[in-house]
């Protein structure tokens, strides 16, 4: 122990040095404590207070995020003993996560289903803040330890959120989620342990891990990598780790599902980028394990499974769940190019998707609140009763399908462009197949997305009673999201600076 003492001051210096790069996260952890304390102090009535504190805190965090751009002028920066890495993409992802989180935190209360919880929502806010903190870590993790830690933190928080509302299907969803999630993380951990054993290091960028892996039998390495990817796949919900998604999204409260399908996914993509970067740029590693091919196949399968299975759904939430699987597949397509363009395309795609998806979940809540509409067929003729909501729903679904003039179209467009550009470089047949699958599944996706406008506007209903009112802010925020999506559809270059 003593022989390590000389290193201690250096270590401490490093930690203090890292704190400047860790400001948003520190704010977040403080925020977590404040919200927790508020919750404890004010007990049941503290919901609105917690919300205000949480949102204000997140706004502050966003401000801190923005400040970090200054730090990046000198390029990416490792800190905390090479545990974390702050770089452009991760920062952007963090920003997006925080911004969306504010919206989602506000949204929690607007969902009547969740809001009717006897204990109030105050706990949920602290849990979400913890989850957001973990997501920040995910986007920056470059060490297998930090990877595992952040993933697990997000998972635990998510389990709680899914099972938060004890009644209804929530607990069933929670059980399934926790069992599936724990098993996946166990598998991932086993994979990590093997990687550690083969490579002799946990540091992805440290320069020891990869050469170590190159020396081991490729099959064993592949085995370990596949086990590891299973863990990330659980968060991203790509095939074959997607089985939990429909059940959990349907069973969980709508805002939680929105949370899981948007910010968690973005963070997981951030993590995947971090994890893959060293492998992609390490020469000859594709001989051992071709991530590009592997992810292409996964992407194709995911797109097909998600979109095709969605065509048969009648439950709105379940349909959105399947569609989010499909979108993961599409986003993987942008990722597998591993180019700068691909990354920016991925970012844009994820933002557009997350916005539209959040809006869609909000509308699912809205129609559940007002008309008790759980199934698509319950929406019959409601478009005439709620024209604004109906029109917004159409816009959002158009964006999710990827038709002009919406942000979703540019997302698809940029993704296709980046894959095309990559194809032009290396003539990889997998990329071509990805694009074709992407195009085909776009058509298929229309098939189920359109069933919502179909019911909203094309069908008539005799129903005249049983309508309740909903929080007007819900509709307002949906309308703002819709306008934003159309605006981004017209002038996308504002977002992609």
């Amino acid at each position: 122990m003593n022989d390590l003492l000389p290193f201690l001051p250096g270590q401490l210096d490093q930690v203090f040095d890292g704190i400047t790069y860790f400001m948003p996260e520190i704010y977040l952890s403080v925020l977590f404590l404040v919200v927790l304390v508020t919750d404890l102090l004010f007990d049941k009535t503290s919901g609105w207070l917690c919300r205000i504190i949480a949102c204000a805190g997140l706004a502050l965090v966003i401000f801190k995020d923005l400040e970090q751009f200054r730090l990046l002028l000198t390029g990416p920066h490792f800190f905390f003993d090479q545990m974390l890495l702050l770089h452009q993409t991760s920062l952007v992802f963090k920003l997006v996560i925080d911004a969306l989180s504010i919206l989602l935190l506000l949204y929690f209360e607007w969902d009547d289903d969740l809001n009717s919880h006897p204990r109030g929502l105050s706990d949920l806010y602290s849990i979400s803040i913890a989850a957001i903190f973990a997501m920040h870590l995910m986007t920056m993790s470059v060490n297998l330890l930090s990877v595992y830690l952040s993933v697990e933190m997000v998972s635990i928080a998510s389990y709680l959120m899914v099972a938060y509302r004890a009644g209804g299907l929530s607990s069933e969803a929670g059980l399934k989620y926790v069992l599936f999630g724990a098993a996946s993380s166990a598998i991932m951990l086993y994979g990590i342990s093997l990687l550690y054993g083969f490579g002799g290091s946990l540091d992805l960028f440290g320069g020891n891990l990869l050469p170590g892996l190159m020396r081991v039998n490729p099959i064993a390495v592949s085995f370990a990598l596949i086990l590891f990817l299973a863990g990330i796949g659980f968060k991203l919900s790509f095939v074959p780790m997607h089985f939990w998604v429909p059940d959990i999204y349907q069973g969980a409260p709508a805002p939680v599902s929105a949370f899981l399908s948007t910010v968690t996914k973005i963070a997981a993509f951030g993590l995947l980028i971090n994890f893959l970067t060293p492998f992609i740029y390490f020469p000859k590693f594709p001989m051992v394990f071709d991530f590009s091919l592997f992810l292409s196949i996964i992407g194709i399968l995911t797109m097909i499974v998600g979109n095709f299975a969605a065509t048969l759904q009648n439950n709105i939430k379940r349909m959105l769940a399947y569609s989010s699987i499909g979108h993961t597949g599409f986003a993987l397509m942008a990722l597998v190019t591993f180019t700068a363009q691909g990354k920016s395309a991925l970012t844009f795609y994820l933002i557009a998707y997350a916005l539209a998806n959040t809006g869609a979940w909000m509308l699912a809540s809205y129609f559940a609140n007002t008309a008790k509409a759980e199934n698509i067929s319950d929406l019959k003729g409601l478009g005439f009763k709620y024209p604004v909501a109906g029109v917004c729903f159409v816009i959002l679904l158009i964006s999710l399908t990827g038709l002009p003039v919406t942000a979703g179209f540019y997302g698809k467009f940029l993704a296709f462009s980046s894959v095309y550009a990559a194809y032009q470089q290396n003539h990889n047949i997998g990329l071509l197949l990805l694009m074709i699958t992407g195009a085909v599944t776009t058509v298929v996706s229309l098939f189920y997305y359109i069933s919502i406008p179909l019911n909203l506007f094309l069908r008539k209903t005799e129903r005249t009673t049983g309508f309740a009112s909903s929080n007007p802010f819900l509709l307002l925020s949906v309308a703002i999201i819709s306008l934003l999506i159309v605006f981004l559809g017209l002038f996308p270059d504002i977002l992609v600076k």
């Binding site: 697990e152 709680l160 929670g174 059980l175 098993a183 166990a186 951990l189 342990s193 054993g197 379940r318």
Partner: protein, 101 residues
Amino acid sequence: MIPLSDFLIVSAGLFCTGLYIILSKHNAIQILIGIELMLNAAVLNLVAFGKFDRLNNGGQLFALFAIVLAAATTAVALAIILNVYKKYKTIDPGKIDELRD
């Protein structure tokens, strides 16, 4: 000195046992135990490999974190299982399938 391969074999055995349990048992708590076994297999690996990583002690460190997180997960899982039991009066995951296609 026990060779590394023995550790690996034991951990692989643990992992497989865990896998078998989570696939075959009809009790959520048993499944949790299976998951624990799998985690422990990994932890065993980490510690065994950590022996060769003298400088950072990464493996041991990781093992500690893993154990803590496993405990946290288990706590959450048990709470959820309790909730489920209240509602369904069973904790056989195979019987809880209201959410399905």
